[in-house]
C-alpha cells in the first residue's frame, strides 16, 4: 500500500492503494468515479480513456505508481472544457449512444482529437478513433458527431 496525491478534474485527491493498481480502478473504486469504464483491461478497447496531462490515456493499463503528478481529466470533468462541452452536445444532438458503455472513452478520445486538430478529415477521424471499440457499432454517428463538433469549433 502507498499513498498517492492526485489531481483529478482540477481537484486534489489522496488515495491509499497498492502501487500496481491501475488508474482505472483507483478512479472507479477509490474515488467512486464510475464514468470511466472497464471493457477489456488490456488497452485494446478504449472504454477507459481519460486525459493525463492532456494526453488521451488508457487508464486500465497505467499503474498508479507510474502516474507521478500528472493531472487527470475524466468524463465527469470534460464538460467544463469548452471542446468537451461541444463534443458532448454533439453526441446528444446526433443521438449517438445506444447502450452507451463505450461512449465515455469515445468522447474523451474525440476531445483529444479535436483539441489537436479542430478540422479533422475523415481519415483523421478514422485514425484517431480507430482503436475505440463499440459493440453497438454507433460508429457512423460518432463520425457525424465529430464533424458537427468540428463545425462548431472555431
Amino acid at each position: 500500500m502507498a499513498t498517492y496525491q492526485l489531481t483529478v478534474n482540477g481537484q486534489h485527491k489522496q488515495v491509499d492503494v497498492d502501487p500496481s493498481t491501475p488508474l482505472l480502478w483507483v478512479l472507479r473504486e477509490e474515488l467512486k468515479m464510475t464514468g470511466t469504464k472497464y471493457g477489456c483491461g488490456i488497452s485494446v478497447c478504449g472504454a477507459c480513456t481519460v486525459h493525463v496531462d492532456g494526453v488521451a490515456t488508457r487508464s486500465c493499463v497505467v499503474p498508479i505508481s507510474l502516474l507521478s503528478d500528472r493531472p487527470i481529466v475524466t468524463i465527469e470533468g470534460i464538460g467544463s472544457d469548452p471542446v468537451g462541452r461541444v463534443v458532448q452536445d454533439s453526441w446528444v444532438d446526433k443521438d449517438v449512444v445506444q447502450c452507451g458503455y463505450c461512449q465515455s472513452g469515445q468522447i474523451m478520445n474525440a476531445v483529444a482529437l479535436l483539441k489537436a486538430n479542430p478540422k479533422p478529415t475523415n481519415v483523421d477521424i478514422e485514425e484517431s478513433m480507430g482503436g475505440n471499440l463499440c459493440r453497438c457499432a454507433t460508429y457512423v454517428r460518432i463520425r457525424e458527431a465529430i464533424k458537427r463538433a468540428s463545425q462548431q469549433l472555431k
Binding site: 483491461g41 458532448q88 449517438v96 449512444v97 452507451g100 457499432a137
Partner: protein, 733 residues
C-alpha cells in the same frame, strides 16, 4: 444509488402493498392475476397476461411535474427506455420534456403481455408492448380528465389535454401534477380510444433518446458501476474446460493479499470453481491470480474446433431430422450435375462480447434477498436466485439495472450467472456481493452462437430459378432436451427452429424443398446470439440466391423479386424501396462492386445494397443503403440507429478475427486482441436507412439488420474476385 426499488405512486403504495391491493380498491379490476408469482419452476409456464394494466404501476406523476414511466424490460442499447415511454406519453398528452424513464423491477405486471414472462429478447419490446403502453397512456389521460371533470363539475367531453395540462370550459386549466392524487382514485376505464395517426405528437417522429446526456457525461449507472454500502467483489476462477471440477486448491498466497475476505469453492451449473471475495476488484484479481487450483478435467469432452468441423462435415452429408419436406424429394436426382450447385458452408462459434462484461449484485440476509441484475430473463432469474437460497421468488427483490450491451448473453436459459452469484451471496451473508467477470472470463465463459455447418444442393430449372433445394444444417441446440419452457414451442420433430430459421421460412419459392437438421451434443454451452439462426442461415441463403441470379444473368434485386413467395410482402416492399434508393449501383467506379442481401426477423424485413472495393487485401465498405419494413415506424431515429448498429454488429462475422475456436477444450480467444469485432475503420463510411411507410402493427428492429451485411459484402466480393465465400470469417481474400 438505488437501494430497494419502490414503485412510488400517488396511492402511496410500495411494491409489497401494491401487490396486496384487492380487486375492490381497483374498481372492478382483478389485480389478483398479478399477485401470484410461481413458486416452482413447474409453475412458470408462459401465461397470457390480463388485458387491462393498472396505470399506477407504469406511470407516476410527481408533484414537481416530472412524469416517471416504468419500462418493462432491460435497456441494453435497443432504445426501449425511450420508445416505450413515447407511446405512453403521446397517448397521455404528457409534456415530453418532463418524462423520466425507469427500468421496472421484477413484478408480474411487468411481464411481456404476449409471452407472459418478464424479459428482453426476440426483438419484442415494441411489438409486444406497443398496444399495452398506448393503452396505459390513454387510460391515464382518461383518469386525469375524469378527475378534472369532477373538480370542475363539467362533462369530461368538455375537457382537452395538451402538454401535461387539462383545459376545461371557460378558462379553466389544471396541471397534471396538481390532479394526480385525485386521478389515481378514479376507476381504471376498461376501454379507451387511442389517437388517430393525425393526432400523434411523438409516435412516428424522430425522438432523441432520454438517456443520452447521462451516457455522455459519465453519470449513467451501469450494473458494474453499482456501489452499495458494505459491498464486496467476487471473482470466480473457472475450470479451463467446461464442466471441469475443483479437485483441490491452495489459497494461502491468495489470502495474503490485503483486503481479501474469503476464498471458497462453489458449484457451477456444470462442474465447480473457486470464488475469491475481496473489498475491491483489483484486490480480488490479484488474489485470484495467486490461487493454485488442481482441476479434475476427466470424464468431460474436451471440445476441439478442428475435430468438430470435421465431424460436422460428415454429418452434413446425411439427412437429419426433417423440418421441411415440400414437393418431391427425388426431384434433385432428375437434375443433371451441370445444373446443380452444391455448397458447403462453415461458421464458427461467436461470442456476444458486450462492452460491459457480465456482472450482477446479490445480497442475502438469511430471510430475504435483493438482486441488481441487467437481466434479459427476469422472471426466470428471480426464481433461480430464490431456488439457490431456499426462498420463494416473492422474497427476492429483483431490480433491473442498465446493461452495457446484451445481445442475448444476459439471458442464459440455465440462469448460470445468477445461480453463481446467489451461491456466493449465501457465503457472505448480509453484504451485497458483486460478481464480476473480467473480459477474459466473459469471453471464455461459453454460451456462444453455436458453430454451424451447412450442406446445400440446389437444382436449377431451365428458367434459372431453383427447382429443387436440399439443405442440411448441423448445429447445437440449447433447447432440445433442456426441459425449458420454450422448448415445446421451438423444437418440433427433433428440429430446433432457432437453428434453421432463415432457411425453413425462406421467402423464396422452391417447389421441391427439403430441410433437415442435426443437433449434436457438444461440451460447449450455446445461447441465442443477436439474430440467432438468421445470422448464418441468411448468409447461406442470400449468397446462394445471388449465385443463382448471377448464373441466370438477372439483376440480383430483380431475381429476388421474381422468386419471392406471393405472401412475402415485407420482403417485396423492402427490396422495392431498396431498388429505388440504390441507383448508385449502376455507376460505381470500376474497382467497386455492389452486393445485395435481405433478411427478416420476427416480422421485420431489411434489404441492403453495399458498395465494396478491396483495399489492403480486405473488403472496404464505402456505403450501405438499407431499406426496412417494420410496420409502423414508432421512432424513425431508433430505427436508423438499430439498422446502422445492427449492420456493424453483423460485420463481426466477416472480420479476420471474428471467431471463437477451441483447442483441447480450451477457448483460444480471451480478449478483443484475438476476438476482434469491427472498429470504426472496418465500418462502412455511410449507412443510409430508408423506412417503408406503413400503418401496420410495428415489429422490432434489434436483430433484423444484423444478418444482411455479411452476405451483402460477400456477394459484392464475389464480383470483384470471382470467388464465393462459404467459410466465415474471411481471413484472407
Amino acid at each position: 444509488m438505488p437501494a430497494a426499488r419502490k414503485i412510488e405512486n400517488d396511492l402511496h403504495l410500495n411494491r409489497r402493498s401494491f401487490l396486496q391491493v384487492s380487486a375492490a380498491a381497483a374498481g372492478g379490476l382483478v389485480l389478483s392475476l398479478y399477485l401470484d408469482l410461481p413458486t416452482t419452476a413447474q409453475e412458470a409456464r408462459p401465461t397470457p397476461a390480463a388485458k387491462v394494466y393498472p396505470p399506477d404501476a407504469f406511470v407516476h406523476i410527481r408533484p414537481d411535474g416530472k412524469i416517471v414511466i416504468q419500462v418493462n424490460r432491460l435497456e441494453a442499447g435497443q432504445g426501449a427506455q425511450t420508445s416505450l415511454p413515447m407511446l405512453l406519453a403521446d397517448e397521455m398528452d404528457a409534456d415530453w420534456s418532463q418524462v423520466v424513464a425507469e427500468l421496472a423491477p421484477a413484478a408480474d405486471v411487468y411481464k411481456d403481455p404476449v409471452i407472459g414472462i418478464q424479459m428482453l429478447g426476440g426483438s419484442t419490446s415494441i411489438p409486444n408492448s406497443f398496444q399495452q403502453y398506448r393503452e396505459l397512456g390513454a387510460r391515464t389521460r382518461a383518469m386525469l380528465i375524469a378527475a378534472a371533470a369532477d373538480r370542475w363539475r363539467v362533462d369530461p367531453e368538455q375537457c382537452r389535454t395538451e402538454q401535461s395540462v387539462i383545459y376545461g370550459p371557460g378558462n379553466k386549466s389544471v396541471r397534471y401534477a396538481q390532479l394526480a392524487d385525485d386521478a389515481a382514485h378514479k376507476p381504471i376505464p376498461e376501454s379507451v380510444r387511442l389517437k388517430n395517426p393525425s393526432e400523434l405528437k411523438l409516435i412516428g417522429k424522430p425522438v432523441r433518446r432520454l438517456d443520452s446526456r447521462a451516457k455522455c457525461d459519465g453519470s449513467q449507472i451501469f450494473s458494474l458501476d453499482l456501489d452499495l454500502p458494505g459491498m464486496k467483489i467476487a471473482l470466480i476462477a473457472r475450470p479451463p474446460v467446461f464442466g471441469g471440477r475443483v479437485r483441490s486448491f491452495e489459497d494461502k498466497e491468495a489470502r495474503s493479499v490485503p483486503g481479501v475476505h474469503n476464498v471458497f469453492e462453489i458449484p457451477l451449473v456444470k462442474g465447480s470453481a473457486v470464488a475469491v471475495i475481496a473489498d475491491k476488484f483489483w484486490t480480488a484479481k490479484q488474489a485470484r491470480d495467486r490461487l493454485k487450483i488442481d482441476w479434475d478435467l476427466s470424464g468431460i469432452e474436451h471440445a476441439d474446433s478442428t475435430e468438430l468441423f470435421s465431424r460436422y462435415r460428415e454429418m452434413a452429408r446425411t439427412p437429419g431430422a426433417v423440418a421441411v419436406n415440400l414437393g418431391d424429394e427425388r426431384a434433385m436426382d432428375r437434375i443433371s450435375a451441370s445444373n446443380q450447385i452444391v455448397a458447403d458452408y462453415e461458421f464458427p462459434y461467436l461470442a456476444h462480447a458486450p462492452m460491459e462484461p457480465l456482472n450482477l449484485t446479490v445480497r442475502f440476509d438469511g430471510e430475504r434477498a435483493e438482486a441488481w441484475v441487467p437481466s434479459q430473463l427476469v422472471t426466470q432469474e428471480q426464481m433461480a436466485i430464490a431456488e439457490v437460497l431456499g426462498l420463494k421468488p416473492a422474497q427476492v427483490t429483483f431490480n433491473i439495472v442498465y446493461a452495457g450491451g446484451a445481445f442475448g448473453r444476459r439471458g442464459p436459459l440455465d440462469s448460470h450467472l445468477v445461480r453463481e452469484a446467489a451461491a456466493i451471496a449465501k457465503r457472505v451473508p448480509g453484504l451485497p456481493v458483486k460478481l464480476v467477470l473480467t473480459r477474459e472470463d466473459d469471453m471464455a465463459s461459453g454460451y456462444y452462437r453455436p458453430m454451424i455447418v451447412h450442406r446445400v444442393a440446389i437444382g436449377i430449372g431451365e428458367d434459372g430459378m431453383p427447382e429443387a433445394w436440399r439443405h442440411v444444417v448441423v448445429g447445437q441446440s440449447f433447447l432440445k432436451g433442456s426441459g425449458n419452457a420454450f422448448e415445446p414451442f421451438l423444437v418440433k420433430n427433433g428440429v430446433d427452429n432457432l437453428v434453421i430459421e432463415g432457411i425453413n421460412d425462406s421467402p423464396y419459392t422452391v417447389p421441391n424443398f427439403h430441410v433437415s437438421a442435426h443437433h449434436p451434443n457438444v461440451n460447449v454451452p450455446t445461447l441465442a446470439h443477436r439474430s440467432v439462426g438468421y445470422g448464418h442461415n441468411s448468409f447461406v441463403r442470400e449468397t446462394l440466391i445471388d449465385e443463382l441470379a448471377a448464373r441466370a444473368k438477372i439483376d440480383p434485386i430483380a431475381y429476388r423479386l421474381k422468386l419471392l413467395k406471393p405472401d412475402a410482402k415485407k420482403f417485396r416492399s423492402s427490396l422495392t424501396l431498396l431498388e429505388q434508393k440504390s441507383n448508385w449501383r449502376t455507376h460505381l467506379p470500376s474497382n467497386h462492386a455492389a452486393g445485395i442481401a435481405c433478411s427478416e426477423y420476427h416480422g421485420t424485413c431489411v434489404a441492403c445494397a453495399v458498395d465494396v472495393s478491396i483495399e489492403n487485401k480486405r473488403p472496404r465498405i464505402h456505403r450501405v443503403t438499407a431499406a426496412v419494413d417494420c410496420g409502423l415506424a414508432v421512432n424513425p431515429l431508433t430505427i436508423e440507429n438499430q439498422v446502422q448498429g445492427g449492420i456493424g454488429f453483423g460485420l463481426t462475422q466477416l472480420m479476420a478475427k471474428g471467431a471463437i475456436t477451441l483447442k483441447d477444450g480450451r477457448v483460444e480467444q480471451r480478449n478483443f486482441d484475438r476476438y476482434t469485432p469491427p472498429y470504426i475503420g472496418d465500418m462502412p463510411v455511410e449507412i443510409d436507412v430508408h423506412i417503408v411507410p406503413s400503418t401496420e402493427a410495428p415489429t422490432g428492429l434489434g436483430e433484423a439488420p444484423v444478418p444482411i451485411i455479411s452476405p451483402g459484402v460477400a456477394n459484392a466480393m464475389a464480383k470483384l474476385t470471382g470467388k464465393r465465400y462459404r467459410t466465415l470469417p474471411i481471413a484472407t481474400i
